[in-house]
Subunit: 380 residues, 2 copies
């Protein structure tokens, strides 16, 4: 099916189902005895017990298995700032993925507040209801402050998936892509187009993992110390990228690069730019739904490996490879904070599932049922 | 089983189940096509559509059937201010009742904020996620301000069940109790012991329905204009009660009363007090888990009709008679605010389900499956 066909089918299916998720009960309520056990008066004993022993709450409630998928609707898919109602179908979809892949009970929470202080306050207020928090589709740069503050102030696992889910899967794919082309990540020149949530997290994680030469590019060109239009978050990228203080355009900086990582917009990358890269160029063209360059065009221009965010091409770089296992592990192992070590371990675990990587198989399928066990095992 | 047995059984069952509710999917996710329809890229068409047509969100998401059960844990059952973790098992139980009785997908949200401004801000922030909001176990007097402000500021149905669910069921029971003893509610002298959330709402609804002579009693005695220790909410009760500016104790004011309504504490009502009431006294002793007076003692002292909150005695005055149908009707009929007219109509609908009321049958069983259809029909 084409994207448009998927859209039409999606409108039909969503209207028919009127919501993709619901609540299920773990026992029936068909007698007065059961009402008295699960509700009043019996539940009072449970409430008294966990009020005195808050850490035990997870053993008596759904806290051990519940995640809130929270968005303010400010950066939804490729649609931008469409608000909480527009975000709700996506968050419900994400909750489906949580349940299907990792048997996690995830609930969509869309917010009608949009500044960092208010988002943080709302999430902190409802945090005791959930065992973990997946932040989703919150625009940069607010997403950075929101996630950092919540991680500091709450003791349940919190992950902004647009940042870290993407970064983990990109690292997983790059580990195998490097094997395929016979190079070391630490020697690579990497150009990251797009310096929002995903681009920033990718740059940080790649730097942490292998310290390659990274250059970040936004709509104004290469991000470097000579730019006087950088916000604080982009300035921070200079700790991880462009140590040579190079200026220039995307076209300039791509010359001789080994890897292009696009989290930007459709059609950004031209065949000529691919040709200007080093031998065996690796292209991660992850703009959704239309990539920075279509795989066949990139291949014709000499790309050795092409990955996209799409399910209809090989090498689908999809957050769903990471987040279900990350949260499954965090919940099962009572991880209170998802760390950089967890992210790197998860990326390696995902990469290792591909026994013999080749140019069309650098990452597993999202439907690979070894994923969640492998990832959850290393998040501990 | 005794209350203690129910408590022990509840601890066992809750520990075994580790949560009483979970999330269920309305379709499987077993193919890349389904991933593309329910998540990206297909869902983008749905998000775009509802972002432009927010009122349509309910037809494409779970908004048409989802309710948040929200508590700050400040007045949980008979346990008091035990906080959000202590409240969670009760809220999960309430969500079970929502699903079982009315097929509503309810989610427990426990808050770690406790002042009115912060509770209102948190609930408003997450409100776009839900089709309705059931406030629960929030202490008086904050509960009044929280509910009033949320009703003003949001356009989805909001009900503080401790107030209005209780009031609706008490009115339903009293309508039939009056038939049994052959009196008119408008002529009755009614003493309400307990002037918190439930007591206040009961007084307001009874006044609105029939303007009986009502006297409210708190731990200091009858609430009247001569008292100088009343908070604002208790002062407001003088608009609905004690027009004779009577002072005195519970014992004093019960003399010659037709009805005692207790939402206070175990053992408050003595046999002598029952004997001092008018002929055929009606006793609603709803303190949980132990009533203001046990039914057999009240009967021995001459009570004509006794109702309690318990399932092991006749005439169980239980919110579960009202709230499932109220929200079912509000969601199905797109009611944006639950009004006094809805509450009175619901009380009448509940009362009418008892075809021939007698002293042991003034209200239907919570397991009566005619309840939700009957109540939901009048909330429109």
């Amino acid at each position: 099916m084409s994207d448009m066909d998927y859209g039409e089918e999606a409108l039909k299916k969503h209207k028919k189902l009127r919501g993709k998720i619901g609540v299920e009960l773990k026992d029936t309520l068909d007698s007065k005895d059961k009402l008295s056990i699960y509700y009043t008066p019996g539940v009072a004993a449970v409430s008294s017990y966990v009020a005195k022993n808050p850490d035990e709450t997870r053993n008596y409630t759904w806290l051990n298995n519940s995640v809130a998928v929270i968005s303010d609707g400010s950066a939804v898919l490729g649609l931008g700032n469409i608000g909480p109602y527009g975000a709700l179908p996506v968050m419900e979809g994400k909750c489906m993925l949580f349940k299907h892949f990792a048997n996690i009970d995830a609930v969509p929470i869309v917010l009608n507040v949009h500044i960092a202080d208010e988002i943080v306050a709302a999430v902190k207020a409802i945090a005791p209801s959930f065992g973990g928090i997946n932040l989703e589709d919150i625009a940069a740069p607010i997403c950075f402050e929101v996630e950092e503050r919540l991680k500091e102030e709450l003791d349940i696992p919190i992950m902004h998936d647009d940042q870290h889910g993407t970064a983990i899967v990109v690292l997983a794919g790059l580990i195998n892509a490097m094997k395929v082309v016979g190079r070391e990540l630490s020697d690579a020149k990497i150009v990251v187009a797009g310096a929002g949530a995903a681009g920033t997290a990718i740059i940080k994680l790649l730097h942490l993992y292998a310290k390659p030469r990274i250059f970040a590019v936004d709509s104004k060109g290469v991000i470097g110390a000579n730019r006087n239009d950088l916000n604080d978050e982009k300035k921070k990228l200079l700790k991880y990228s462009n140590f040579s203080d190079t200026d220039g355009s995307l076209e300039d900086i791509l010359q001789g690069a080994d890897v292009f990582i696009g989290v930007s917009k459709a059609g950004l990358l031209t065949p000529d730019m691919v040709r200007s890269m080093d031998k065996k160029p690796i292209i991660f063209a992850m703009a959704n739904p239309t990539p920075e360059i279509m795989p066949d065009i990139a291949k014709s221009a000499g790309a050795s490996i092409v990955a996209t965010g799409r399910s209809d091409f090989p090498n689908q770089v999809n957050n769903a490879l990471a987040f279900p296992g990350i949260f499954r592990g965090a919940l099962d192992n009572q991880v209170r904070m998802i760390t950089d070590d967890h992210k790197i371990a998860a990326a390696k675990a995902i990469a290792e599932l591909v026994e013999k990587p080749d140019s069309e198989h650098i990452i597993p399928s999202v439907l690979d049922d070894r994923l969640v066990p492998a990832v959850s095992k290393v998040v501990r």
